[in-house]
């Protein structure tokens, strides 16, 4: 009997070796492990055996059954693996086909630059103050120490609006500096005897009567800055704007301040930064000067402080004006300023 069981085992394991597919495996199971298989039948005959043989044969029959079941499981799992491998092999994709595009929204490059500028100045305590595009001559010029017919006005050719008065025409602001007076007056009115300190930037659209070309536009954005307090100096102007340049361009960049002239500041300075393309060695971007003109600035003129309600004997301050288009053009090597308002998607899509 024991030999018979051993024979079944050998026969079954041998037969399993030649099983090639699921159907054959099922057939094998039916043949060797199903109810009417020789093995199961032999277990049923245990009762006919002697009490002495019964445990031995029973043990053997169980062992054979477990062995065959384990072999079946192993075989089944191997065949599953094989099947999976086979199907994975046939499911390969052309990974070089383009993916499904998701539309990516973007901000206009000038918005991006304005945000960078605002963020840097915000960390230095400058808050944003906005004022109108259409101004009076008084706010755009007169209160900023540009008297009527003054030669300084030649530096800013202006658009005027129909219907204004002769003495105080309505115009499109030529700089956001016009907002300086609005802001100072608003703050000083809150406490005329002790006006609070001012630290603001004034972003916005400005307009000048200039022929449109690759380098100049009738409409452009500007960020004016103004700091007024009881202890603010030209040295602070240099420090603050150098800090800005080092944040905006790179931490090592050098700055240079040249004497200049703006009617609403005195002394006035142009700030140049070392060319970030050639690092001061001279290249076509900096026109072989090693430096890039970045902004105009200066100590706020006493007349302007006074017009804003700040006593120039006690208060001092500095102001500056940045051109976001110029900064953007330098940063991305943009050749033509007209790209900004033309809004060709082939241009805009480059700035994510």
């Amino acid at each position: 009997m024991l030999d018979q069981l051993e024979g079944i085992k050998q026969q079954a394991l041998e037969a399993l070796n030649s099983v090639r597919d699921e159907a054959a495996l099922e057939q094998w199971r039916t043949q060797f492990l199903a109810r009417n298989s020789a093995l199961v039948q032999s277990l049923k005959q245990l009762s006919t055996l002697s009490a002495e043989d019964r445990p031995k044969v029973g043990q053997k029959a169980n062992e054979v059954k477990l062995t065959l079941e384990a072999a079946l499981e192993e075989r089944r799992s191997a065949m599953g693996q094989q099947r999976l491998q086979h199907s994975l092999g046939s499911e390969g994709l052309d990974v070089t086909l383009p993916g499904r595009p998701r539309p990516l929204g973007r901000l206009h490059p000038i918005t991006q630059t304005l945000r960078r500028i605002s963020a840097i100045f915000a960390e230095m305590g400058f808050q944003v103050y906005r004022s109108r595009d259409v101004e009076t001559d008084e706010y755009n010029f007169q209160l900023l120490n540009f008297p009527p017919n003054h030669p300084a006005r030649e530096m800013q050719d202006s658009f005027y609006i129909e219907g204004g008065s002769q003495d105080n025409p309505v115009m499109l602001r030529t700089h956001t500096s016009a907002g300086q007076i609005h802001a100072m007056r608003q703050y000083s009115a809150q406490n005329p005897k002790n006006p609070p300190p001012v630290r603001i930037i004034l972003p916005g659209m400005c307009y000048r009567y200039e022929q449109i070309s690759a380098r100049s536009e009738v409409q452009f954005t500007q960020v004016e800055g103004l700091a007024v307090g009881e202890r603010i100096t030209f040295g602070d102007l240099k420090g603050t704007l150098t800090d800005f340049a080092q944040r905006f361009f790179d931490a090592e960049v050098r700055t240079r301040f040249r004497a200049s002239h703006f009617p609403f500041t005195e002394p006035s300075a142009e700030m140049d930064v070392e060319c970030f393309v050639c690092h001061g060695a001279g290249c076509s971007v900096c026109k072989h000067s090693g430096w890039l003109e970045i902004l105009g600035s200066g100590v706020v003129h006493p007349i302007v402080l006074r017009n804003g309600g700040y006593d120039p004997e006690r208060y001092s301050g500095f102001a500056f004006g940045l051109g976001p288009e110029r900064l953007t053009m330098l940063r991305y090597r943009i050749e033509d300023i007209r790209y900004f308002w033309r809004n060709d998607v082939r241009f805009l899509e480059q700035f994510s």
């Binding site: 086909l97 383009p98 499904r100 595009p101 998701r102 539309p103 929204g105 973007r106 206009h108 918005t111 945000r115 808050q127 944003v128 103050y129 906005r130 595009d133 259409v134 101004e135 008297p147 017919n149 030669p151 530096m155 658009f159 609006i161 129909e162 219907g163 204004g164 008065s165 001012v198 630290r199 307009y207 009738v218 700091a227 307090g229 202890r231 603010i232 100096t233 040295g235 602070d236 240099k238 420090g239 603050t240 040249r258 200049s260 005195e266 002394p267 006035s268 001279g282 026109k287 072989h288 430096w291 006493p302 120039p312 001092s316 308002w341 809004n343 060709d344 998607v345 805009l348 899509e349």
Partner: protein, 845 residues
């Protein structure tokens, strides 16, 4: 302002400083050198760094030298050419030239007085005299009419001095043959941008004064003396000033017996380098004096004036023009004058527009023998008004319109008379006639070291401050720590009090050097925190729309009514708001401020329509409406969105290539407003002429309309160059959005108990908007209906004509417990009943 270095050297020593270093120092001190034009002097090697543009030509020291013409002989084959026997310091050459100067010497044998010329040898780099403009060329060996030629005698043009190419340059007899020409007359010209605050420097002496202050070198005295050998000028002319405010000073001098002829060569060359055309010795003398000292002069033919005065001594009268008065100026234009324009007249009538341009009649001519020379002071604002009104410009007006100190009138006339005497002969009458009814008062400003500390952040002693100011010719008196500073009599730009203080701080900082002032961080108190709510909301909107896949654009705010009219169907009645119009438009395309942001955005869509199939853009910006409240228009912030093209970008396995429709835009609008936490919104059919009447909605928060969106009216679409694909647009009034955006919102806890999901479909009449069905379900479901979403709309035979089936997924949820089947069944039947009662809705099995 063009400043030849050679001229500058007459007033300040420039040994041991290169042209480039000088230009750098001037630039840093506010006299920006825009260009350095080399006229012979060596140029910096290769690609040196320079703030200024570099141009011009350096004369090769070995190949361009002083030559000496010893004999002039005819050319064997050409009448218009001569051969020169020329000595170059080492040997003689035969040089060919066509210069008319030399024809008179032809065949005269050995010249007694050799002619000194600029001689260029083979291989020298010069400008091509025969090409228009200035083109560099290398002098080569050639044969002209059978005679070998490898070198040449140069014209001014060939050496880059002027455009003159008719004749050759004749040098002074002091020029040594063989000497490098660069050593004899090599020069460089600085072009300096004169900002309004340095109007006093629009002349050689002014720049020399700055250079002397910046380098700490001595400034030579101003050349303002003349040698008089004639009788006193007294009684030879009279001056009457009617408007001293406009004409504070008027000075006249007289020279007789002059001979009009060309100026000496060096004078002509110097004027050319400074940018003025040489005319004759008298006109050149006035220009030379003006360029040198900054005082424009005017030369009258004295004999003509005497004749006009009927043989008597002329009286010069300055007065305002009469209404409608006319004058023909030197440029041949008859000008109608304004009442504010000042004229220089005599008893017979107007002679010139004061400070701007002379009249034709009293001008110096070939026949002039006596000159009455005018130097005056004019109110610069008034001169500007005249310039603007007459659309005139001149070198004189350039200076007078920026302010010239009255003290310069006397100096200018003195200098002019002396130059005329030197170049035109004649005798100068003793003295000057000087009317000075309104003497300029110098400013006196008190400053102290504390001012430099407070204004500049600079620690200086009063002695250091005084030294700087004295270098600029300020008068300085020391009173302990304080300085009493008096402005010099060549500048008008120093104010009084605290303004004067700032003016002096600028001078001190400039000359001391900005680069030496330490950069510091502000030590001042921070201002109160104010924030900027509208900007913050605007920036949130930008971010939300970019996240929703839209591209931001920024467009022109100047446009035309015609461009904007395209945004409405032709024939739409215009609104009654007038445009804000530009009084002086620069082009026909930019005449008004925009009234509609929609028009700007549609133009952008139009421009890009052929570049990209799928477009989704937005702009935030102001529109401008004329205001009834005052001259300033209302500036109203708007937001406009536009989408067109296929819903999904083009792809090789496109899932949905259908065009964007109303519901795409509604999705974007909903996403935006949801992102702003606006809470419950209401959508209603909208009406707007730019929109398709059946595909337009307005969105409200409470009773406040925020915006309108939908499909662009097909008729509007046809007014743009757009493909035949629907365009979806949305337009918002940002002021309304600012009003309703909450400062904060309450979050909702994540439920701890499981929800129950259920799908219900209702058949209702087409006439009932889905929004109403939804609202009723929500209302009935109450707090246990956690969410509701429409997942299918069906129309078809199964449900009959005029009806639609709306299929919703409902999520029931009780935050406090698990809902039972019974709870759900109760809720469901309540909803079904309500819908049946209100809308006759049938639950679809």
């Amino acid at each position: 302002m063009r400043i030849p270095i050679s001229w500058l050297k007459e007033f300040v020593n420039l040994d041991d400083i290169s042209v480039e270093d000088l230009a750098y120092k001037l630039t840093m001190a506010g006299l920006e050198v825009e260009e350095i034009q080399y006229v012979g002097l060596p140029m910096p090697s290769a690609k040196g760094l320079s703030h200024a543009r570099l141009s011009g030509i350096a004369w090769d020291r070995a190949k361009i030298v002083v030559g000496e013409i010893r004999e002039v002989t005819p050319h064997p084959n050409a009448d218009r050419l001569v051969l020169c026997r020329l000595y170059d310091g080492k040997q003689e050459h035969i040089v060919l030239t066509g210069a008319p100067h030399l024809f008179e010497y032809k065949g005269k044998g050995e010249l007694k007085k050799p002619i000194k010329v600029a001689y260029a040898k083979q291989g020298a780099e010069i400008y091509d005299g025969h090409q228009p403009g200035f083109q560099k060329t290398i002098l080569k060996r050639t044969k002209i009419r059978g005679v070998e030629s490898s070198s040449m005698v140069c014209s001014e043009k060939e050496l880059g001095i002027s455009e003159e190419h008719e004749g050759i340059i004749i040098l002074g007899s002091d020029a040594e043959p063989g000497m490098p020409l660069a050593d004899y007359m090599g020069d460089a010209v600085l072009t300096i941008a004169i900002t309004p605050n340095i109007a006093r420097d629009a002349n050689i002496y002014g720049v020399a004064r700055e250079v002397s202050a910046l380098l700490g070198r001595k400034l030579k005295p101003m050349p303002a003396k003349f040698k008089a050998q004639g009788p006193s000028v007294r009684g030879k002319a009279k001056i009457e000033i009617k408007e001293p405010e406009l004409n504070p000073r008027f000075v006249l001098g007289l020279i007789k017996g002059i001979q009009i002829k060309p100026s000496p060569g060096w004078v002509q060359r110097r004027l050319s380098l400074a940018g003025m055309r040489p005319i004759n010795n008298i006109v050149d003398a006035t220009n030379y004096a003006m360029l040198e000292l900054g005082e424009p002069l005017h030369a009258f033919d004295y004999d003509v004036l005497v004749q006009r005065a009927g043989g008597k001594a002329p009286t010069i009268i300055t007065r305002l023009a009469k209404k409608g008065e006319k004058l023909t100026t030197l440029d041949g234009v008859e000008r109608k004058l304004d009442g504010f324009t000042v004229l220089v007249c005599d008893t017979a009538g107007a002679l010139s527009i004061a400070g701007v341009m002379g009249g034709a009649e009293s001008e110096v001519t070939e026949k002039t023998r006596s000159v009455l020379l005018e130097g005056a002071a004019w109110n610069f604002i008034n001169i500007r008004k005249t310039l603007n009104s007459q659309r005139l410009s001149s070198e004189a007006a350039y200076r007078f319109s920026r302010g010239v100190h009255p003290a310069m009138a006397l100096r200018g006339v003195s200098r002019g008379l002396e130059l005329m005497r030197l170049w035109a002969g004649g005798t100068v009458n003793e003295g000057l006639i000087d009317k000075y009814p309104l003497p300029a008062k110098p400013s006196v400003v008190e400053i102290a070291p504390e001012d430099a500390r407070r204004w500049l952040g600079l620690q200086l002693t009063s002695a250091q401050m005084a030294a700087i100011l004295r270098r600029l010719e300020f008068g300085v008196r020391t009173q302990g720590q304080k300085l009493a500073v008096t402005s010099p009599d060549h500048r008008l730009d120093i104010g009084e009090g605290v303004v004067g203080m700032a003016d002096l701080m600028e001078e001190i900082a400039r000359v001391y050097g900005y680069e030496k002032i330490a950069a510091t961080r502000m030590a001042d108190e921070l201002p109160p925190q104010r924030g900027n709510r509208t900007l913050e909301i605007e920036e949130r909107i930008r971010d939300l729309l970019a996240r929703l896949g839209l591209q931001e654009i920024m467009t022109y705010r100047l446009t035309t009514p015609e461009q904007e009219a395209r945004r409405l169907p032709a024939g739409t009645l215009p609104d009654d708001k007038p445009y804000v119009r530009v009084a002086n438009p620069i082009s026909q395309e930019r005449v008004v401020l925009r009234k509609s942001l929609l028009a700007s955005v549609l133009e952008t869509v139009e421009r890009n329509a052929n570049l990209r199939e799928h477009l989704a853009v937005f702009e935030i910006g102001e529109v401008f409406h004329a205001s009834e409240a005052g001259p300033l228009p209302d500036e109203l912030p708007r937001l406009v969105l536009a989408m067109a093209g296929p819903r999904e970008p083009q792809h090789w396995e496109a899932a949905d290539a259908g065009p964007v429709d109303f519901y795409d835009m509604k999705g974007i609008v909903g996403g935006l407003l949801d992102g702003l936490n606006l809470g419950e919104l209401r959508y209603e059919p909208g009406q707007h002429p730019a929109f398709h009447p059946g595909k337009c909605a307005r969105v409200l928060s409470g009773d406040r309309q925020l915006g309108v969106f939908g499909e662009l009216h097909p008729q509007v679409q046809s007014q743009y160059d757009l493909p035949r694909r629907p365009v979806q647009i949305a337009t918002f009034n940002l002021d309304a959005i600012y009003d309703v955006v909450p400062e904060r919102f309450d979050s909702v806890s994540v439920p701890a108990y499981p929800p129950v999901l259920e799908d219900l479909a209702f058949v209702v009449s087409e006439a009932i908007p889905a929004g109403q069905v939804e609202a009723l379900i929500r209302q009935t479901g109450g707090r246990l209906l956690a969410s509701l979403s429409l997942f299918d709309v069906y129309r078809g035979e199964q449900i009959g004509a005029g009806k639609k089936s709306l299929a919703y997924q409902l999520t029931y949820q009780d935050p406090e417990r698990t809902l039972t089947d019974e709870d759900v069944a109760k809720l469901r039947s309540r909803i079904v009943k309500r819908l049946e009662q209100e809308f006759g809705a049938q639950l679809r099995a």
